[in-house]
Amino acid sequence: MSNQYQERSAVVRIIFLAIGLIFIVRLAFLQLFDSDLRRQADSQALRHITQYPARGLIYDRNGELLVYNEAVYDLKVIPKMVKRLDTNMFCSVVGISRDEFDARMRKACKYSTYSASMFMKQISKEEYASWENHLYKFRGFYVQQRTLRVYDRPIAAHVLGYIGEVNDDEIKADSYYKQGDYIGKSGLELSYEEVLRGIKGDRIMHVDVHNREIGPYLNGAHDTLAVEGGNLYTTIDANLQEYAEGLMANKRGCIVAIEPSTGEVLTLVSAPCYDPNLLVGRVRGENYLKLQQDISKPLFNRALQAQYPPGSIFKVAQAMTALSLGVIEPGQGFPCDKSLVGCHNHPSARSVQEAIKMSCNPYFYYTYRRIIQQNKYKSIYKDSPYGLTVWDDYMHRFGFGQRLGIDLPNVRSGRIPDTAFYNKKYGEGRWAFSTIYSNSIGQGEVEVVPIQMANLACIVANRGYYITPHLVRYYGPDSTRNEEFYERHETGINPAYFEIAANGMYDVVHGAGGTAHRANIPDIDVCGKTGTAQNIGDDHSVFIAFAPKTNPKIAVAVYVENARGGGGYWAAPIASLVIEKYIRGEVTRKDVERMYREAAPCQKLPLPKTVKKKKK
């Protein structure tokens, strides 16, 4: 009797087993296949606190600190967590009006009530210290430390560049950035952004259901430390830079000085200059707008971005090309025939060296004609394009018509017109030497960027090669070097010809009939070449130089916009002051120095009026 229905125990077991299996399958779904749950768990229980690394510092070539950081504080608010706030007290402590508080709060609420948004930006260390002790009373508010750039000497703004908040495109392009981060926007800050920014750290805090921090998640096992940004050790000579900027006061134009043997840029000035401190902190937006609207374009880096007609300095490259092609001999003479192209009064040049010294326009007309018309074809409409192609190649060897690989952003290429250019401009077969001869004297369609002019001076100084101009020697904790800045770019032209050029340029400064005696410095052999570039408006004054003649230490290009009086009058003495300052450490010709520092050659343009940062 007792074991009737015993088979029913199997049914009971099956029920138990079925439920157990259902649970295990359900567990598998939740735990093995639903990664969303894990994500949700992390997002609600873990709070990531970004540790911002200090941005790398920037030094000059002598180890002087040019750019460093200063701590500031951003006050942030999570509107949902603001509770029982004594608004009046808050306003008086933080130093804002009630209306301002309401406006800022509305803006924060509009962004998000649950996540943090900016309440007040860039509060100085001193200001923050004065009310830091009150902060605990204001639930929902907290501060985040940020760093601002500080420049003790207000120099080299165009080289150093500036940083600014990332925009949406930059966030999209690189996942490193989050809203509110800073990024290099121009200059070295931009081109070495990845070195300077360092690596962000991440501290993970475990928070409870009330959003209170319990402690570091897994005792910090998954935390990462911020890695400081790498420092830049630049080639800039801060003293020379400051001096050169002083010389360019009241002028528009630029100065580029390079150490020829290494390609290291010693000084890079674009005038008008501005104080880099203007683009830092809370005054940045306002100042930026003013600088941007200024008609003298202070934000425009003329040394890298202005494309000027080079004027007569271009003749040096023409002479070298013609000698190298063998179309003239060093002892070649040409009459100064002003019917071909205008010239100033001087005796006819009897050699290349004299032609450079006297900067004879007809001489280079003849020379250029021999380069362009090599009699390879009967038709001049075929012969000239051939010659132009050969010439193009030489010009590129001098670094013209191409972007020099300098480590600054937005450098321009200038223009060396090629056959395609003229075919487009005049039509194929409709142009020849007679159409393009102005190129010979650095006018016409030729355009050169000032850094390329300085580079030309380097090529002569080095007697035939250049090293890509650059601004950073090495960077980061491992003193990393850019290998491309150790590579010689050869022109392939016999150094003996460059000796002729150097002699000619020496005569420009020192010889009878030279065009730049104002560049003469006692006891220093300066070699230079003047240029007076015609353009709409007053001529630009141009001068390139290097010194000393043997083992040159410095090569300079000076470009002064709309300066009546030619290259010898404005640019040459300014270049000589830069050279003297660099080689000697100080300038003996105080009268020359004073005169050119105060002079304002060009039509006066209002210099930018900007907001000064409040002195602390």
Binding site: S2, Q4, Y5, Q6, R8, S9, V11, V12, R13, I15, F16, L17, I19, G20, I22, F23, I24, R26, L27, A28, L30, Q31, L32, D34, D36, L37, R38, Q40, A41, D42, Q44, A45, L46, H206, V207, D208, V209, H210, I214, G215, Y217, L218
Partner: protein
């Protein structure tokens, strides 16, 4: 001559007990109170309950085994009395009026009603000359079950009352018609469908099934078939139509919400659905091997309310992962299988019926509790046996289990 106590059951019991305590320790862990023997904490208190339970278990194994059957009705009457007393002097906890205060400790008679009913019903079902087919017998048997269940419903503890449905299984084993189980299943399915689907569609489908059965499935049709199918169809249809009424009038608002949340009709993760959603997040974030003991980020941060009591299983899910949770489920199923096996080897009908009752009561708790935590069943607050924090439930489950183990140990003496 007595046998040894069944060591498989004993080991599974101890293992679940220990694992449960570790999870309670994790669920209420905080660095300030991490001492194991800190009796101001819940894990400390649970340690006391475990100690008391083990003593109770030992005492039970020393008692003469036939005492339980002879005292069954007495125990039942005493517990029913306590349940009634609770209605008058009980304290309200979490919406349920089911506790009696004893100084610092609280005591929940409903937990003890389970084994008392099991004893009394076993006693009744094992009476000599009992004819289960008689209506009178059925009525008396059901009265044993429904009386405590009704009082517990009056205490607003629907979950505990639901547990009395577990006696369906031992009754089934002893000869109750399997149709009752099938009816129960059909009723649940229809109930859920009625809430989700248009009722006319359900009735249409029911009609289609009935017609299919009558005219396609059956080769020969008798009048009896017509009558039965028509009656079943009408019954099911009426049930379907009346679901709304029952749902609105019989269930409490919070119960309706819980069912709606489960069925996905309301998506309220901040209120009613909060608990289950957090529980799923905690379990789901555990992955294959879990985050490790005391490393559950959700567990430690109090995201899941009731975590050391009814929602303790999500601690297992988070910290011990799929492997740990599955092993726990397997341990429970193993214990249930073992109990069925032990029940089947009893010589006395009392012991066998009681054994089935024990397995079924434990099963229903496990089913409802884990089903709820996994989001498969509506939120019904009942503890996970031997696992959830709570003295009354742990002691009651221990008594429930060890009375049976004691019966099994002495099975050769109890004929």
């Amino acid at each position: 001559m007595e046998n040894k106590i069944d060591w498989v059951s004993l080991l599974l019991y101890l293992a679940i007990l220990l694992f449960g305590w570790l999870n309670i320790y994790a669920a209420c862990y905080d660095e300030a109170h991490s001492a194991v023997f800190d009796f101001s904490t819940r894990h400390g208190k649970q340690l006391i309950w475990i100690g008391v339970s083990l003593v109770l278990a030992l005492v039970i194994t020393l008692i003469e085994p036939n005492v339980f059957s002879s005292m069954a009705y007495l125990i039942y009457i005493v517990v029913i009395g306590l349940l009634v007393v609770v209605l008058f002097i009980g304290t309200v906890t979490k919406g349920g009026l089911s506790w009696i205060d004893f100084g610092p400790f609280k005591f929940q008679p409903a937990e003890f009603a389970k084994f008392a009913t099991a004893l009394a019903l076993s006693k009744y079902m094992s009476s000599l000359d009992l004819d289960y087919r008689q209506l009178r017998t059925k009525l008396i048997a059901w009265s044993f079950i429904l009386l405590p269940a009704a009082i517990i419903i009056l205490q607003h503890d629907t979950g505990s009352a639901l547990v009395f449905a577990s006696f369906l299984l031992p009754m089934y084993r002893e000869g109750m018609s399997p149709h009752i189980l099938v009816f129960g299943l059909v009723a649940v399915v229809l109930f859920v469908l009625a809430l989700l689907v248009n009722k006319f569609i359900i009735i249409g489908v029911l009609a289609a099934i009935a017609l299919f059965y009558l005219f396609v499935w059956l080769n020969k049709r008798t009048r009896k078939h017509y009558v039965w199918v028509a009656a079943l169809f009408l019954g099911c249809s009426l049930f379907t139509v009346s679901v709304d009424f029952a749902f609105d009038k019989v269930l409490q608002p919070h119960q309706r919400d819980r069912i709606y949340v489960l069925l996905g009709k309301t998506d309220d993760k901040s209120n009613t659905g909060y608990n289950v959603n957090q529980s799923k997040i905690a379990i789901g974030s555990g992955g294959l091997f879990g985050k490790g003991f005391l490393k559950g980020t959700i567990t430690k941060a109090d995201f899941v309310p009731e975590q050391e009591t009814d929602f303790i299983f999500c601690t297992v899910g988070e910290e011990w992962g799929f492997v740990g949770s599955s092993l726990l489920i397997l341990a429970y199923i193993g214990l249930l299988f073992r109990l069925i096996r032990l029940a089947e080897r009893q010589y006395s009908k009392f012991s066998r019926f009681y054994g089935y009752s024990v397995a079924s009561i434990l099963f229903l708790h496990i089913f409802i509790n884990i089903g709820m935590v996994l989001g498969l069943l509506p939120v019904i607050g009942i503890p996970l046996p031997f696992f959830s924090y709570g003295g009354s439930s742990l002691m009651a489950f221990t008594i429930l289990l060890f009375i049976f183990l004691r019966q099994d140990q002495a099975r050769t003496k109890l004929m």
